[in-house]
């Protein structure tokens, strides 16, 4: 069993035009920086990206947008990105905006082998248009389907050669959910360790979900809104 790859280029070698990929992260926090750079470099196109945000103009998924590598973006919030706005308004980019909890749950559903889930988010709004709904205990819920993705690209703090992952702080966010959901899950970690170095009680993502792992390099970990107190 060898899940270890040398770098992002090798780990993403078989992502091809038209693939559906999930990318972990919230804003620029916990995003798979190395994988995104490798996708940009590889020049793979017509991608459908499932990610909470679309990065900023010059970082994160914004890099792929700039190179027009995306066909469709499925996200919950896409502010702070002028190129995104331009492509959306010009019709170059297909966009599906869905509630953040629905996004999380549809990833989770996939990882838990549940084909669909019920959520009240979006009932009575345009999000509900064309969707099946159902009343439970007097409250209306929408039926939302599990996501299917060819690849999930996630970023963890530490990982071992078996693919066990530990995230750090709020960089966890969507990463464990997407890690569970990918047909092929590729994890990049700040620190790759030997099996046994991580406490089995503290693992966030068991290795069974992770097909490929590599230690990333040159993490920028850019801060989107640097706020301090006096």
């Amino acid at each position: 069993m060898n899940k270890v790859y040398n770098n992002a280029e090798e780990a993403i070698h078989d992502i091809t035009n038209g693939d559906i990929i999930m990318l972990g992260g919230f804003g620029l926090c916990g995003i798979p920086e190395n994988c995104i750079s490798a996708l940009e470099k590889k020049g793979v196109n017509e991608l459908t990206c499932i990610s909470n945000n679309a990065g900023v103009d010059d970082f994160g998924i914004g890099l792929l947008l700039k190179k027009k590598q995306l066909k469709k973006m499925i996200a919950s919030y896409v502010g702070e990105n002028e190129e995104f706005e331009r492509q959306l308004l010009s019709g170059e980019l297909e966009v599906e905006l869905i509630p953040q909890g629905t996004l999380a749950s549809r990833c989770m559903a996939s990882g838990y082998g549940m084909p669909a889930i019920f959520t009240p988010a979006g009932v009575g709004t345009e999000v509900a248009e064309g969707k099946e709904s159902r009343i439970f205990h007097g409250k209306e819920y929408l039926l939302e389907y599990a996501f299917e993705a060819d690849f999930a690209l996630v970023k963890a703090w530490k990982g071992d050669r078996f693919g066990n992952l530990i995230y750090r702080g709020t960089a966890r966010n969507f990463n464990p959910l997407m890690a569970m959901a990918g047909n092929i899950t590729i994890a990049e970690v700040e620190e790759l360790v030997e099996p046994g170095e991580l406490d089995p009680n503290e693992i966030h993502t068991p290795g069974i979900y992770v097909h490929r792992i590599f230690q990333g390099t040159n993490y920028e970990k850019r801060i989107e809104q640097r706020t301090v107190r006096n």
Partner: protein
């Protein structure tokens, strides 16, 4: 008339000991600065943190530690991190006692519009639709009128909805209003504001019963 900080200050008076609270971006975030002494209120950040602390000291910013507005923050003793599914799970399951969020429009039936202005940029709903669909207690913090002077308290929202029949209370620069089955019920007026001014600034059905006290902030 209240400024943004005073709106936040008035809302903070709604907090009770032991509350778990989700504060939206904008005025709601300011509520954290006015938590009354002697009570424990735990802030939930929907990107995966319970027990959100203040902004970090300069030089102590951590890229792995942000709030839902992407701002650098800190933890507090007793904080816990979790993933986004758990985060919205606890929201859906009604574990969050109070949600405070901003709005573009609120109807007298409790509908809220806050995420989209057709024709202009659509930023997305983020977690707002989940929050309003699930929270037991939703307070909207906003100005009573928009930049053109038009009322944001309507009989029906004109903008795309974020959720329906969910807002319980509104605190604006002019008033505290409860939403009941009968419509907007005026509870308190801001210092220096008359009931007539509130009536004139409200398009939805406004119910004024008895003497309206001036709010304490």
């Amino acid at each position: 008339m209240l400024d943004k900080n005073q709106i936040a200050q008035r809302i903070a008076r709604e907090l009770k000991d032991g509350y778990y609270v989700n504060l939206g971006i904008g005025i709601p975030t300011l509520v954290a600065n006015y938590i009354p002494d002697g009570i424990t209120v735990t802030l939930q950040s929907e990107n995966g943190l319970l027990g959100m602390g203040p902004f970090p000291l300069k030089g102590k910013e951590d890229a792995d530690l942000i709030n839902a507005g992407k701002q650098t923050i800190t933890t507090l003793p007793g904080s816990a991190f979790f993933d986004s599914a758990v985060s919205f799970g606890m929201i859906r399951a009604g574990k969050v006692d109070l949600t405070v969020l901003g709005a573009m429009e609120v109807s007298d039936a409790g509908d809220i519009a806050s995420w989209k202005i057709p024709g202009k940029l659509v930023k997305g709903m983020g977690g707002a639709m989940d929050l309003v669909a699930s929270a037991k207690n939703i307070i909207v913090a906003m100005m009573h009128t928009n930049s053109k002077g038009e009322s944001k308290l309507l009989s029906q929202c004109k903008l795309p909805l974020t959720g329906i029949k969910c807002v319980k209370k509104i605190v604006t620069n002019l008033a505290v209003i409860e939403i009941t089955e009968r419509g907007f019920v005026l509870l308190e007026k801001a210092p220096g504001v008359t009931v007539d001014e509130i009536r004139n600034a409200t398009v939805g059905k406004l119910i004024i019963e008895g003497d309206i006290p001036e709010m304490l902030i």
